[in-house]
């Protein structure tokens, strides 16, 4: 039984090593800082450009992780687990998209619920963001994202209660994510430096 648990832990650590480079944190930091600055310069209509970061970040992350850690095809059990996690994440993201839409609709009516949501300022938007991040953290096993989700919600609520300038709700967490990401990246590069190519011989990649 004991060695079964150790094998599971070894597999899990190998899987998690692909999420220790800090790149997701850096991309998240850039996204949040971008949102903050777009709000500051009243250019929120350019938010779509930030969304284009996502496919670019996925490509960069994949290339970077594989070039430093190597390529692995995890066992069918892990692959099935990932598929299930992605399906659950899709459901949650759909739900948060609906929530986001409801929040947006609150600005176009005088019903009681719409007035209530308007009075909350951009807390509902922060709630939606933290829900997305928390879900990603739980399902992709990046636990620090759950902490980030809590941080975003706390900043949004505190900002609303203290009447802080709204762009700072994004800039403050963005700075935290960027710093964490950079620290992780430096440690990762130190732990997994680029290997020099050798003359072919023996079994090598």
């Amino acid at each position: 039984m004991l060695d079964k648990i150790n094998l599971k832990e070894i597999e899990r650590k190998a899987y998690l090593s692909y999420h220790q480079d800090g790149l997701w944190d850096i991309f998240l930091g850039i996204f949040f800082l971008g949102m903050g600055f777009l709000m500051f310069f009243n250019a929120i209509y350019l938010m779509g450009a930030l969304a284009a970061l996502l496919p670019v970040s996925i490509i960069i992350k994949k290339w970077f992780a594989t070039s430093r850690l190597g390529y692995v095809k995890f066992a069918p059990k892990r692959q099935a687990q990932e598929k299930k996690s992605r399906a659950k994440l899709t459901i949650i993201l759909t739900f948060t998209a609906i929530l986001g839409l409801v929040n947006f609709m609150a600005f176009f009516g005088k019903a009681e619920w719409q007035t209530f949501i308007r009075n909350l300022g951009i807390i509902p938007f922060g709630f939606v963001l933290s829900l997305v991040l928390g879900a990603i953290g739980l399902f992709i096993e990046i636990k620090r994202f759950v902490f980030y989700a809590g941080l975003i919600l706390a900043v949004f609520i505190a900002g609303h209660l203290t009447n802080t300038y709204p762009p700072t709700y994004f800039i403050l967490p963005g700075i935290v994510f960027l710093i964490v990401g950079l620290i992780m990246l430096i440690r990762f590069l130190h732990k997994y430096p680029r290997l020099k190519k050798e003359v072919p011989g023996g079994i090598q990649g």
Partner: protein
């Protein structure tokens, strides 16, 4: 039953342990290949923390024993040399685990 016979019986499980897998570096290579479907050389090097030459030498030994297979294939249009355990390798690793468990369980508590 004489004491000599008793000794023979006690040593039997230890004698059956696969020396190919039992070597520490090869054991850790087998562990990582056991928990994944396939992996490239760099992945194994990073996870096992073996040097390039060391890993290469041990993989050659495992390949000669028929425990590891090496395949060159295209993964997302990129050519990769992938290592994986053969059926014989997986069976041998499972058998090794069982035998080690039996040997260790029989050790008296001190």
């Amino acid at each position: 039953m004489g004491s000599k016979d008793k000794d023979k019986i006690d040593r039997q499980p230890i004698a059956e342990i696969d020396p190919i897998i039992h070597e520490p570096a090869r054991f850790i290579i087998m562990v990582y290949l056991y928990v994944v479907e396939s992996a490239d050389f760099l992945f194994l090097m990073r996870q096992t923390e073996l040097t390039r030459g060391n890993l290469s030498a041990h993989l050659s030994k495992l390949e000669s024993a028929g425990y590891v297979q090496i395949k060159k294939e295209f993964v997302e249009k990129i050519p990769r040399t992938l290592l994986s355990l053969t059926k014989k390798g997986r069976k041998s690793f499972r058998a090794y685990r069982q035998k080690m468990k039996r040997v260790l369980e029989k050790l008296p508590d001190q």
